[in-house]
Symmetry: C2
Subunit: 340 residues, 2 copies
């Protein structure tokens, strides 16, 4: 089969790879319908993380082709959405809703590589969720978004406790930030402030539910949020950038006793303990437990109540994945969908 | 009146000071019954924070002597307990239970100085809580503890969401750590692990409710907690030391999706963002909103259901405050009560 391999930073190729096979009785092999390039795939692309003939991709939707003897909840022919973290969904941590910290957690990006025609998904029962039927083609991008970017934005908004009567603020207008806006709206936030300075992203932010746009960053951004919230700060703040400045901007924008959800930090982020302490805020972050939200998100998409698929602004065939990486690296695209 | 003044690091004196007077109509003047020395008073004593003829003390109980014309909830003759942070208890932040981040928040340690015969307490209605009557003398230490050290330990345990069915771990066996143990027990935690290596403190930890003691620190301490909790980590972890090592020990000891409460960090603490991120935990910290808990804590003390007063292991008259500082600095005492 064909699949994406990153030989080294900046060198992405589509090459022949062995077809995946069932290894464990809990595995499934999925023939992918669509996959995509993640903002985090740019880290190795830019040399910030190592890349050495790395199999790329961790977002995926497709049709189950084969299952191991122990798999019970999905069967060949099912259309499935999976999380970017493998989980058993039965351990104590999973049952508490933190499947990304499952005792058997394993990142799909470490060794599976879903930018390919097929993928072997371990712990299929705990990782995959079947859709109610075969989706109309126009629903495929939305379902694919649920696999990571929507699930992550949703978790961030839940972590920030966005909800009725609350002012939410979202730092970052990338795909995850936009999905956090969608989530905050679904969760009932009264006011949703998008922190964005790109006109195109601002438009999409408003489409997804932003009621206000703040272009200022850093201390000026914090000051603006305070000014807009009677001096208090927002109740619910999402950090969806991952840099030091963005993290501290989110801390500063959260009111005392408020909640901040963060869903990615780079290796350089160092949080001054004393600043976090005197902020007096709740924080929750980490790789999103997408599996917790998948059943609900699939249903919302199936019922056409949310439209996360618009977050993909460039669609290419798998064979053109290298151009997709380039477009995202050069910021010509927010998120690239790869068709098969 | 007599009061404690820290001339410079290590130089504490009891001297004559002007009697406090009502300045604002919302003030009260309290004649103190007892006060104490806080672990945080050692920071300027040791030169870690500046001291220049600083009025010391922020914990206090006593009898109201005079109130301003706008004060409604306490009156002369009332025995009162106050928080170490002044608050109006009416603003949006206070109503959400975060009185230490009140829009009018002011630290008692900045300019009031309750290691004295009397103190002027601003925003008396929002800061002071009257006891049901004049307390028996043996209740005074317990009520004084509520002013900071009990309120802070209690907040830490609440922030960590200690409760029924949960394993709590407390990093630190100082006064606040011991009070967090007491709180975790009251909140119904099933198992309470005290991280302590001092035999005397271990005894007190067990008295207050610890079911297990772990002497290891740092990575070894984390490994021990994991070993004791089926590899998961504790549900509810309190950090009550304030150093880098203790903070990261608490992060590591918390299970994925668990809660960590922290109630003090020194200026050197730098939290590696990536470690906090991959821990996948809830955190809540900051100066404790003691005012939120005071009515409940006073009642528990009044009904003799909790006995936080045992945290004081040295009692001296105010005039001997310098000896009290020395005893705490040299670790001959955990917490010193000063009588008036």
């Amino acid at each position: 089969m064909r699949g994406v391999i990153m030989h080294t930073a900046g060198d992405v190729r589509v090459e022949d790879r062995d077809d995946p096979k069932i290894i464990e009785p809990t595995d499934a092999v999925v023939r992918l319908t669509a996959t995509c390039i993640c903002g985090s795939d740019l880290w190795p692309y830019r040399g910030i993380e190592p890349a050495d003939h790395t199999l790329m991709g961790h977002e995926y939707v497709g049709v189950v082709e084969e299952v191991g003897s122990a798999v019970e909840t999905v069967e060949p022919g099912d259309f499935v959405v999976g999380s970017f973290v493998i989980s058993d969904n039965t351990c104590e941590i999973c049952r508490a809703g933190f499947q990304s910290k499952c005792v058997h957690a394993e990142f799909v990006h470490a060794g599976i590589g879903t930018q390919a025609e097929k993928a072997r998904i371990p712990l299929a029962d705990g990782t995959l969720v079947a859709t109610p039927g075969r989706p109309e083609p126009e629903l495929v991008p939305a379902l694919l978004a649920a696999s990571d970017v929507l699930g992550t934005g949703w978790f961030a908004a839940v972590a920030a406790e966005a909800g009725p009567g609350k002012t939410a603020a979202v730092v970052g207008d990338g795909a995850v930030g936009l999905m956090a806006i969608l989530a905050a709206k679904q969760l009932g936030a009264e006011r949703i402030i998008a922190m964005s300075r790109h006109p195109e992203r601002q438009k999409l932010a408003r489409y997804y539910g932003a009621t206000d746009i703040v272009e200022e960053r850093g201390d000026a951004g914090v000051a603006k949020i305070k000014e807009m919230t009677g001096g208090h700060g927002a109740h619910a703040v999402v950090e969806a950038v991952g840099t030091q400045e963005a993290f501290m901007q989110a801390v500063g924008a959260t009111r005392g006793g408020g909640h901040m959800g963060y869903v990615g930090v780079n290796h350089e982020v160092q949080i001054p303990g004393i600043e976090l302490f005197f902020a007096g805020i709740h924080t929750l972050g980490g790789p999103a437990p997408v599996r917790r939200f998948l059943p609900e998100l699939i249903q919302l998409i199936w019922d056409r109540k949310i439209d996360p698929g618009r977050v993909f602004d460039l669609t290419l065939p798998l064979e053109q994945a290298p151009e997709g990486y380039k477009a995202m690296d050069e910021r010509r695209a927010t998120k690239v969908l790869l068709t098969l």
